[in-house]
Amino acid sequence: MTLLDPVWTSLLYLAAAVFFILALRGLSSPRTARRGNLIGAFGALVGVVTVFLSSRLDNVPWIIGAIAVGSAVAAPVARRVKMTQMPQLVALFNGVGGGAAALVALLELGHTEDPWVRVAVVFTLLVGAVSFAGSGVTFAKLQELMTTRPVVFPGLPVVMAVVLLAAVGTAVAVVLTGALPLAVLLMALGLAAGVLLVLPVGGADVPIVISLLNAFTGLAVAASGVVLGNVLLVVAGTLVGASGTILTRAMAAAMGRSVAGILFGAFRGGSTAGSTALSERPVRSSSAEDVAVLLGYAQRVIIVPGYGLAVAQGQHTAAELALALEARGIEVDFAIHPVAGRMPGHMNVLLAEANVPYESLKEMGEINSKFRTADVALVVGANDVVNPAAKTSSGSPIYGMPILEVSAARQVIFLKRSMRPGFAGIENELLYEPQTSLLFGDAKDSLAKVLGAVKAL
């Protein structure tokens, strides 16, 4: 027996769907973003409570136990993860969602004879499995469990084509026969396709792939809604699929890439992997005191923060340094590349965490013309986003990505851990320019030393 009749059930699902729309809308503006997220969480709660009250469910204690386990695992991880590692956590959560959708479709296959529903089942199986495996590889790349470079091997396009053809054939067979073993095979092919899809994607493009797989999972969830005849799943999944697609394109545009180029660039052999060899060419290295003098007697300083700053947890020290320079009457801005950090907008989150006011975070389009009038550009733990190779070297994996034009500044100072190339694995010519000096060391330590020296001026 159920507590809710079908009309109330539909109304509550409708309410949950509206909450999700309001959530996405809220998330699109800084003022309402946090409330938007809470509205989304409330919508999810409404949906879950409704399913318990409206369906004839067996195994309820087991289900509640499983929810408790899932929450107990995910909530502490989500609460404790370092903000620098957040992109891979989002990838992981996205992957398990895709996996769940695929499993739901697999179990529903036996309950239907309708060929159209079976089409939705095979779609969910395939896309959910691609999302699960692809997100897993993305996680491994971002966590640096494996190389962040594009992984390509001869015959990769052939293997991918064979897997896709086999998947299409198996999908047709599942629709015709409804055989469970074939469905399991289809899932396995989906997993293989997911791995092959993400392997050749280069490090700097990985965030865009997370967004794309996020849209994939949305579509898988929508299709599973068709399988179950559940409107809430259809609406929520479609919303995420559509908004995820737009977001993926916006992210790709911010990097001057096309989504197809990112996914298939390596297949076409268009991108060449950078060299790992450390260069022997001379660079001008500098001391913290020298850097402090350059900064302390400048009029305009632009700080370019990158992933290295975030890894070293140096955001707070960078904010203090900006404060100390401003106290000397120096104009200080932070130049934020759209993909600084590991994901679009990631650096904004990290600097907001360090209480850097929103107004001093300048987006690339706004700041690029100001480097010409800057006395010093201080590049902290960033590399690819200021690498002129993106403009000059057409063979480079980052060719075409818009960069911050730090070379226009009178002096450029790099705070770097080593001469190791950046995430994309390519050398930066700017390091060898005469106006460039380098201060080696952990970003936070270097910043602290420079800060001390500036205060002592």
């Binding site: 989304g40 195994n59 769940a100 203090e320 759209p338």
Partner: protein, 106 residues
């Protein structure tokens, strides 16, 4: 629900999805992706339905695995998004001096 109604709803939802995020600044790309990621965790509803119908132990086990995965997506997604957005909170009111004061106070 019949096929035509589902198709209608799907097409309308596509347009709503396009519209609501069409003008978002790159500042919010990460939280928006993370928030959208949390929303598709609602597959939990589907996992619960499947688990509630399961009669054999093996099927129940697979369904419960789906419930665990979906819950991780849903709960983890909303929690991590909230944490991210918490950091954007109040930056307009908090001038740089206040920021320095809180830093010193720690």
């Amino acid at each position: 629900m019949d096929g035509m109604s589902l198709l209608t709803i799907t097409v309308l939802a596509i347009f709503v999805g396009f519209e609501v995020v069409s003008k978002v600044s790159s500042t919010l790309h990460t939280p928006l992706m993370s928030g959208a990621n949390a929303i598709h965790g609602i597959i939990l509803v589907g996992a619960i339905i499947v688990a509630g119908q399961a009669a054999e132990p093996l099927i129940l086990a697979v369904a419960l695995l789906a419930v665990v995965l979906a819950t991780a997506n849903l709960v983890g997604g909303f929690v991590v998004t909230d944490r991210m957005l918490h950091m954007f909170h109040g930056r307009k009111e908090t001038g740089r001096k206040d920021a320095a004061a809180t830093e010193d106070g720690k």
